[in-house]
């Protein structure tokens, strides 16, 4: 077992533990912190799977941006001093049945699948540069469309969350 394997197993274990905290803990804030740990572990796994650009993006966007946004949302929609930071559960039985059944079906079908042999991926030396070139050449159209989507989303979220309603009507 090499050092890389040990680090990979550490990341996998920490992500599973963080997800278990998310499921079992009733506090929303702890659940958000659990998701943060899980995302950072996934970023490490991405880096070990030769996806450096995606690992950095994951760290910057998810751990730096989305989680801060969600924690702001938790702070703004729950009374911190009271006990309403807790959340209740419902549909527990049917949820466990559905998700465990889904896990069973997917695992069973993967277990019975013969994977195609691994191609040699080591001929691409400069991953970061290749990602940039691909993004600007082959994937130029989706790149531009995602830029428009981000702009629309920014304006929509800002307008939805702000209180401009009276001004817009008048």
């Amino acid at each position: 077992m090499t050092l890389e394997d040990i680090i990979l197993y550490l990341f996998m274990g920490s992500s599973v533990a963080a997800v278990l905290v998310m499921i079992l803990n009733r506090n929303i804030f702890y659940a958000a912190l659990g998701l943060l740990v899980c995302l950072i572990s996934l970023s490490g796994i991405f880096a070990l799977l030769q996806a450096e650009f995606l690992a950095v993006t994951q760290l910057l966007i998810y751990a730096g941006g989305v989680l801060i946004l969600i924690i702001f949302g938790i702070m703004l929609t729950n009374r911190i001093s009271g006990k309403s930071l807790q959340t209740d559960s419902h549909n527990v039985f049917i949820g466990i049945v559905f998700s465990a059944g889904f896990f069973g079906v997917i695992s069973f079908s993967f277990y019975n699948t013969e994977l195609s042999p691994v191609e040699n991926n080591l001929n691409i030396v400069n991953h970061m540069g290749t990602v940039g070139t691909e993004l600007m050449s082959t994937y130029a159209a989706p790149f531009e469309v995602s830029g428009i989507l981000l702009l629309v989303c920014l304006i929509g979220a800002a307008l939805t969350a702000s209180s401009f309603k009276k001004n817009l009507n008048g």
């Binding site: 992500s15 995606l54 989305v66 703004l76 559960s89 997917i106 993004l135 969350a161």
Partner: protein, 102 residues
């Protein structure tokens, strides 16, 4: 068990945990967290199978998934904030009317 098998089962576990969170938790923010978890499990799968072959298609697809997930989180949080202002709750079960009671 090979590494790729373990990583695949990890991705499946994360997806099913997200599904469980979406099903069982009452608060809207927890539902949003569950959706983020499911999207990340899908990303893990894309990157995992991309690492088995030449080319970078899976990684770039995962990149676009991240972009769409960010948009979804921003709009979702905005809607939850607005709903909380209006109904003073962020539990979707307690919101059963489109308009406030007169």
């Amino acid at each position: 068990m090979a590494k790729i098998d373990l990583l695949f089962y990890l991705g499946t576990f994360l997806f099913c945990s997200g599904l469980l969170i979406v099903f069982t938790k009452k608060n809207a923010i927890m539902v949003l967290l569950g959706i983020e978890l499911m999207l990340n499990a899908a990303n893990l799968n894309l990157v995992l199978f991309n690492s088995q072959k030449t080319g970078l298609d899976g990684q770039l697809f995962a990149l676009f998934v991240i972009i769409v997930a960010v948009c979804e989180a921003a709009v979702g949080i905005a809607i939850i904030l607005k709903t909380y202002h209006y109904y003073h709750t962020s539990v979707p079960d307690q919101i059963s009317e489109l308009k406030e009671k007169p």
